[in-house]
Every structure is written in structure tokens, then in C-alpha cells.
């Protein structure tokens, strides 16, 4: 509860900051401090320390997994704010409001990772979505931003409608909105249809094919800084919500559910990877790759066992950190095509090396966190004892994914480019980026560093 309440409060604080503080660069410092506090209190909550004694039993339930997931999200956001804070300032005029919205999103994330009631799921998802519609469109004069925002909004509301229909059907069948009341085994068609509709809607939120169409356009159109946030924290939070609902319960969707999810996974991997191969713009490539990564995270949903949850946590951390890192660098560049990266290794050796590490992590190369993330996902499926074919398809697509990630590395290291228009970066930025890379490598060598937190 600490996270939810505090993040709402901090959001309000940021709004007031916007009124009373003139200095724009102060916002991000305040935001960073707030995030640090948030992180602290969230961790404190894992140790059963609550500031507010509120009985939320009927709506929210806080457990290790959700809290750790929150921590990962908050930590990622912290890194994000630290790395990209300056870029946020450049977008639009309402900087403080942007920060406020980010905090509101975190509030939604907190709800999504701990709801026990479909009402809270609905509210959580909406609290996440509405600020994002706004952030996407926050560059008001940018037609791409307008377009992205409109698309996102229309399709988002549409999927909300679908989800509500599903919730209504579940209610009709079970008479309650409590998640735990949902039957483990399929009882009625109504309930099955309801689950299915919710599945569609959540698939939309985490951009699982064939409900992914908004993703590339929106990620591409949104201001780069917010794409970074959307593609990482928000997406993994969506997965947390997803797995919370379907954990051990997807049997209620009907007999062919396994097949359905398998199909969705294959489609997601195929759409994401194949389309990413063809992209010219790194930003758009990352958008497609985020779809592909979502395909991998769906493995957790398919397997729904302990390994899957651990893996999802690791995946969230690995994926978010690496993507935030890349986007932070991307935001400094004018030319976002692959050619734009040509020769980066020469002009910015350290940054190029770090970006390479992030890309390696995304590609799932050993000794990076991305490897273990993928490893856990695959392992989770293998542990179900069937569907080895799915795993094989997964790895083959992972190999394809290496293709487009390595294209960036190639551009940076092996191709000669003209002088790169690269916004000046501070030393702090570099060290921070280095820190992120270190975290990724540490998780790649010793993933237990994160996962053991689940069990102590």
C-alpha cells in the first residue's frame, strides 16, 4: 500500500512543484528523490512495514512477488529519470506534469501487481493507460505524436471495452469480482468467454500479437523518452497483472487455452522479430523488438509455475534496464536510423560499449541478464514437460532477434560514419549508464542476486 499511496502523493507533489518551482531542472531532482523514497518504502513494505494501516484485503493483497516487481519497476523508473530526465525537460512545456503522470503510472503499477479484485485490475490498468495517452501526445505540435496518441487512445479504449465485457461475463458466472473466486477449472461457457475477452484486452496492453498493432506506431510516434518508459516499466507491469490473473487459473478459459496461448506466443515472436528485421529506424526496431520480447515474456504466462514467475521478474529487470539504457542513448541522437549509429564506437567508445552490452543482453547472450531471463522462460516451459516445439520456435526467433540487435553493434563498431550528431552528455550520465551495465552483467553472472530476494 505504501507504493500506491506514496506514488499518488508524490504525483500531487510534482504537480504543485510545477506551480511553485520555476527551475525546470529541479523537477527531475525532486522526482529522483521521490523515487528513491518510494523505492525505500516499497522495500520496507516487503519487511512488513506499512505507513498506512488500511485493510485492503478485499481489493489488494501485497506479497513478495508483487512487491519485488514494484521494486524492479521503481528502480527502473529511477534509472530512467536519472538517465533521461534532461530529455523529459525538452518535451513540451508541462515538465512537472509529465513527472506527475509518471508517478501516477507507478501508482497504477502498484495496483496491477497486487490486485485481488477485477475492479482493481480495471482501475489499475486505466490508471496506467490514461497518463500514457497524455504522455504520448505531450508534444502537441508534433503530428506524429498526435497520431500516436489518437491511435493509442482509441485502441486502448476499445480494448478496455473488451476487458469490461469480459469482467461482466465473469461476474455473471461467478457473482463476484474476486480473483480467487474464479474457478480453476472451466465451469461455464460464459466464464470461459469472459476470461478469453480479458485475455484479449490484456494481450493488447502488453502488445501480444495479434493485438500488437498499436505498439510500433505508438512507440515510434511518442517522444523518445516516453517510449522508453512505456516500452519498459509499463509493459512489464502489464505482464505482472497478466500473470497475476492467469496464474493457475487459465484452465477456466477452456480446453484449447494452451493452444491459444501457444499460438499467441508464436504469432508475437513472428510478428515482432520478422518485422523488426526490416526496420531502418532503431527506434522503430526497438518497438518491434519489444513485441518480440513480449513474446518471450508470454512464456511465463504459458508455463505459470514458480520458474516462470522468477523468470518474469528477471526478465522485467533485464529487459527494462537494457531498453532504458538504449533509449537514453537514442534520445541523445538526431538520426535514429541504423546509419545514425555508424562509427559511434569511435566518437563515444564507452557509450558504444555499454550500448553493445545492452544489446547483447536483449539478444540473450550469456553473461548478461538477458540470457538468464530467456533461460528462465525457456526453462519454465520445459518444466511443464510438453510443448518443446514452442521452445524451439522461441530460440529460433531469438536467433533472428540477434540479427537486428547486432545490426546496431555492427553499425557502431564496424562501419565508418561521418561525425555523429550526439548531444553532449555529462560524466554522470556515463557513470550511470556504466552502473546499469554493471547491474546487467552482475545479474548475468549471478541472477540469484535478484531472485533470492523472493525467498528470504
Amino acid at each position: 500500500m505504501n507504493t500506491i499511496i506514496l506514488s499518488a502523493i508524490f504525483g500531487v507533489v510534482m504537480m504543485f512543484t510545477g506551480i511553485f518551482v520555476e527551475n525546470k531542472s529541479a523537477y527531475r531532482h525532486i522526482a529522483a528523490i521521490a523515487l528513491l523514497l518510494l523505492l525505500g518504502f516499497n522495500i520496507a513494505e516487503s519487511g512488513h512495514y506499512n505507513i498506512f494501516k488500511i485493510d485492503t484485503g478485499y481489493f489488494l493483497h501485497f506479497e513478495k512477488f508483487g512487491l519485488l516487481f514494484n521494486s524492479v519497476c521503481i528502480f527502473s523508473t529511477l534509472i530512467y529519470v536519472l538517465l533521461s530526465g534532461r530529455d523529459i525537460e525538452k518535451v513540451g512545456k508541462n515538465v512537472a506534469e509529465s513527472f506527475a503522470l509518471i508517478f501516477f503510472v507507478l501508482c497504477g503499477v502498484g495496483i496491477s501487481t497486487s490486485y485481488t479484485n477485477l475492479l482493481m485490475l480495471f482501475l489499475g490498468i486505466e490508471i496506467i493507460s490514461i497518463p500514457l495517452y497524455i504522455l504520448t501526445g505531450s508534444e502537441k505540435r508534433n503530428l506524429k505524436g498526435n497520431e500516436a496518441s489518437l491511435k493509442y487512445f482509441l485502441m486502448g479504449s476499445f480494448s478496455t471495452g473488451i476487458m469490461l465485457m469480459g469482467i461482466a461475463m465473469l461476474y455473471g458466472s461467478g457473482g463476484s469480482f474476486l480473483v480467487e473466486k474464479l474457478s480453476v477449472a472451466r465451469l461455464s461457457y460464459l466464464e470461459a468467454l469472459g476470461m478469453l475477452l480479458i485475455f484479449f484486452a490484456l494481450s493488447f496492453k502488453v502488445s501480444v500479437a495479434p493485438f500488437h498493432f498499436w505498439t510500433p506506431d505508438v512507440y515510434d510516434g511518442a517522444p523518445t523518452v516516453f517510449t522508453s518508459f512505456m516500452a519498459t516499466v509499463v509493459k512489464v507491469a502489464g505482464f505482472a497483472a497478466f500473470i497475476r490473473l492467469f496464474e493457475s487459473r487459465y484452465g477456466s478459459m477452456g480446453g484449447q487455452t494452451e493452444h491459444l496461448i501457444a499460438l499467441a506466443i508464436i504469432l508475437t515472436l513472428a510478428f515482432g522479430n520478422l518485422t523488426a528485421v526490416f526496420q531502418q529506424s532503431v527506434k522503430r526496431m526497438l518497438a518491434y523488438s519489444s513485441i518480440a520480447q513480449a513474446g518471450f515474456m508470454m512464456f511465463a504466462l504459458f508455463a505459470v509455475n514458480d520458474t516462470a514467475k522468477e523468470g518474469l521478474l528477471l526478465y522485467a529487470a533485464a529487459y527494462s534496464l537494457a531498453t532504458i539504457g538504449i533509449f537514453a542513448v537514442l534520445a541523445k541522437m538526431d538520426d535514429m536510423t541504423f546509419e545514425g549509429f555508424n562509427g559511434l564506437a569511435k566518437s563515444q567508445p564507452l557509450i558504444a560499449a555499454l550500448v553493445a552490452i545492452f544489446l547483447l543482453s536483449l539478444a540473450g547472450i550469456p553473461l548478461t541478464a538477458g540470457f538468464f531471463a530467456k533461460y528462465y522462460m525457456l526453462s519454465a516451459i520445459v518444466k511443464t514437460g510438453s510443448y518443446l516445439g514452442l521452445v524451439i520456435i522461441g530460440v529460433l526467433f531469438a536467433a533472428i532477434s540477434a540479427y537486428y540487435y547486432f545490426k546496431v553493434i555492427q553499425a557502431m563498431y564496424f562501419k565508418e560514419g561521418e561525425e555523429i550528431a550526439f548531444a553532449p552528455v555529462t560524466l554522470t550520465f556515463k557513470y550511470l549508464l556504466l552502473g546499469v551495465a554493471v547491474v546487467i552483467v552482475v545479474l548475468g553472472i549471478y541472477p540469484n542476486a535478484l531472485l533470492s530476494l523472493l525467498y528470504f
Partner: protein, 111 residues
């Protein structure tokens, strides 16, 4: 009234909303159709709420059974209102920039 009637009615309304979303290009109309979908859901929820309440009528076991369904409708309305404010402002913003509400007017983002 048999619950099937209500279910059918709301599904029909819901699907009309979907068809509207699919067949119109005016962003405002599309948005309205989405509102129509939400209302279909609301109707269904209320009907279910009364259905679940049916068992409670005449027994003291749980007189308020089904009340959460109606409360859910209340929250949907809340969210819908919030969405409308954001959505309409987005549409207005777009109209200001392009003088069009055609959703296909802007399609720089593709492929």
C-alpha cells in the same frame, strides 16, 4: 425477465458498438461507439447484479448480494468520464493541428 434476454441485448449492443468502431472514420463517432460498448457492459452488469440478488431475496443470508455489480457500473462511469475528458482533448488537439477528425488522415506511422 430471463437473464438470457439481457445478455443477448447487451451483446448485440456491444457488437453494434464494435461495428461502429470498424465502419466509421470520424474519431468522435468511433469514440461514441466505444461509449456504446461500455453502456452495453453496464447494462449487463446491472442485469447480473439483479440476477445474483435473486437468490438473496427473501432470505437473510446475504441481502446485499449483487451490489458490487452495480458499484462496478458506477466505477465504469467514473472511468468513462475521465477517459472522455482525455480523449476529447486529444481529438481536439489533433483537430487543431490538422483540421480533421478523420482517423485515417494521419498515417505517417506505418510499416
Amino acid at each position: 425477465m430471463p437473464i438470457q434476454y439481457y445478455i443477448t441485448l447487451s451483446i448485440v449492443l456491444f457488437c453494434i458498438g464494435i461495428v461502429g468502431v470498424l465502419t466509421r472514420r470520424n474519431a468522435i463517432i468511433i469514440f461514441m461507439c466505444i461509449e456504446l460498448m461500455l453502456n452495453a457492459v453496464n447494462l449487463l452488469l446491472v442485469a447480473f447484479s439483479k440476477m445474483h440478488n435473486a437468490g438473496a431475496v427473501g432470505s437473510d443470508a446475504n441481502p446485499t448480494a449483487g451490489v458490487d455489480g452495480q458499484l462496478f457500473v458506477f466505477f465504469i462511469m467514473v472511468v468513462a468520464a475521465a477517459e472522455v475528458s482525455v480523449g476529447l482533448s486529444i481529438i481536439v488537439m489533433m483537430y487543431r493541428n490538422t483540421h480533421s477528425v478523420d482517423v485515417n488522415f494521419l498515417n505517417r506511422l506505418k510499416n
